[in-house]
């Protein structure tokens, strides 16, 4: 419905969050996502019933999100690799307490302080828990600025629907890039009522509490089983992916985010050379689109996983294929983005 706007990825996330009803942002500056923090400051500090706090640390920021989320508010924080590592403590608490929120990771090259150029090496951290304990985030991986907008809005809904933290796993390239975006009018969806668990004072009811612990192991196991049940539902209902050119492909590439865009260019160029490449682009990294990968890889047999890491999503692709297909890998990391030429050269290796 809305008119098209030219927006930087990081700012588009901010605008999408605000349009999704997020009024509370807590964060700490870090490249390459600082424009998002600045955007939230610019907007939220001028809004009623809203707050922006530049926290003293990433650890404090995620704990502020935890507090705001406990009151039922839509809250968000954002960072990049080193800052996301610091947030893991709070993320584990949020997952255990089953509090909804959105966490944005605009990935950069790691490990350590790493670089400030794009990376995808936080995949394990995002999809396998990241902090202590058995838990999962709902992880969404946009590959364009428009998708950053749409998935940010979806992330708030999914977080509320499953009372679970959701993560936007982007990278420095789409965070910094400007593209045309449209803020489409969204269908109203029914979300569960928060009244049952929010903490706003016990007027007219019994007191409630949110305590992400239980020293009785059998009780703590029950908490675990409850969230595991929830993950099963998420896996059943929320898998999303984009599939291109899967029929009659000579080889299937599995890639997400920025890398998947580059692969789309590779597909076009390969076609000119008579090579048929298919692409499976997971949009949800948790839940992971295992079934389509299993079916396609068994049929095509040649699979190349491309990442800006040394093979993290690769492990999930291998688990999905379960030994029934040849799974190959190409990766660049540390902030280096693989080029279309490199990827095509790599593909040709497996087609002789």
């Amino acid at each position: 419905m809305g008119e098209k706007m030219l927006m930087k990825g990081n700012e588009a996330i901010g605008e999408a969050a605000i349009r999704a009803g997020c009024r509370f942002y807590f964060g700490y500056p870090i490249t390459p996502q600082s424009e998002l923090t600045a955007y939230m400051a610019k907007k939220l500090l001028k809004m009623k019933d809203a707050a922006f706090v530049q926290a003293e640390s990433e650890i404090a920021a995620i704990s502020m999100v935890y507090g705001a989320a406990a009151t039922g508010a839509r809250a968000m924080t954002s960072s990049s690799g080193p800052g996301i590592s610091l947030k893991q403590e709070g993320i584990s608490y949020l997952a255990c307490a089953e509090l909804p929120c959105v966490i944005v990771n605009i990935q950069r090259g790691g490990p350590g302080l790493g670089s400030i150029q794009p990376g995808q090496a936080d995949y394990f951290q995002a999809t396998k828990g990241g902090g202590h304990g058995d838990y999962h985030l709902i992880v969404l991986a946009p590959s364009s600025v428009q998708e950053l907008v749409d998935l940010t809005m979806d992330a708030f809904d999914l977080a509320d629907k499953y009372t679970n933290p959701a993560m936007i796993l982007g990278d420095g390239l789409i965070g910094q890039m400007m593209e045309a975006v449209e803020f489409k009018e969204r269908k109203k969806i029914d979300l569960p009522d928060k009244e049952g668990w929010i903490l706003t004072g016990c007027k007219g009811r019994e007191k409630k509490y949110i305590v992400p612990f239980n020293l009785d192991p059998y009780e703590m196991e029950k908490i675990n089983l409850k969230i595991q049940e929830k993950y099963k539902k998420i896996i059943e209902k929320e898998i999303r992916y984009e599939a291109i050119n899967l029929d009659n492909a000579d080889l299937i590439v599995v890639a997400y985010g920025t890398v998947a865009r580059i692969v789309k260019t590779v597909i076009d160029n390969a076609k000119k050379e008579g090579i048929n490449i298919g692409l499976i682009r997971p949009i949800t990294l948790f839940p992971f689109p295992e079934k389509i990968i299993a079916e396609t890889s068994e049929k095509i047999n040649k699979v190349l996983v491309v990442e800006m890491s040394y093979g993290q999503m690769l492990e999930d692709v291998k688990l999905a294929a379960n030994g029934k297909a040849e799974i190959n890998f190409y990766g660049r990391a540390g902030g280096v983005v693989p080029t279309q030429f490199e990827i095509l050269t790599e593909i040709k290796k497996y087609l002789t």
Partner: protein, 248 residues
Amino acid sequence: MKKVFGSPKSLTKVPFTYCPGCHHGIAHRLIAEVLDEFGVREKTVGVCPVGCSVFAYVFFDCDMICAAHGRAPAVATGMKRAKPDSIIFTYQGDGDLASIGTAEIVHTANRGENITVIFINNAIYGMTGGQMAPTTLIGQVTQTSPYGRDPKTMGYPIKVAEMLSTLKGVAYISRVALSKPAYILKAKKAIRKAFQSQIEGKGFSLVEILSTCPTNWGLSPIEANKWLEENMIPYYPLGEFKTPEEVS
């Protein structure tokens, strides 16, 4: 017959599980009485820490949330910002507030967040079994200062009330003790002032409560009270360090 004494509404009927002679129970009761007196129980959320008082959520009859170790002031910030009309207090020990949560308490105070912090200083780690706290006194023997706290390698006991009272964002700070009835009455007044300061929107308030840990100090409850008065009070003087400035 006229009822002259009863349990505050802001406490549940669950008996305290704290060790004999521990001051947590008295501190809980004083907070509960103040919440009752201000009539704010139904709009209060308490933030409990990691440490012995992680179980505070069981004893307070108001909404409660448990924060990660040291992060209670940040959690309180998020709650108060999202619901400015609610009354938010944190209840934190010395390891929680003055060690792992130093950044959070300093910056929450510095932002002048309109919350109330109850800081229990018993100069030792209770729940983990008697290790050195940032507030452990010089020479004091603990599991991790077995030859006594040596300032050359372990630093000096942190005076939290004094340190935070230098910050402009702070409205009210006092230090009290609970080792005898006269002190308890003063402590109650201080807690009242702290919550009043929050209710009136004046900004950050903190009451540091010198408390005993007979179990980990290896003393009887009576000896512990005596030890507190003879050793802690001389180093951690009681009194108000900052009171709300009058609105000009």
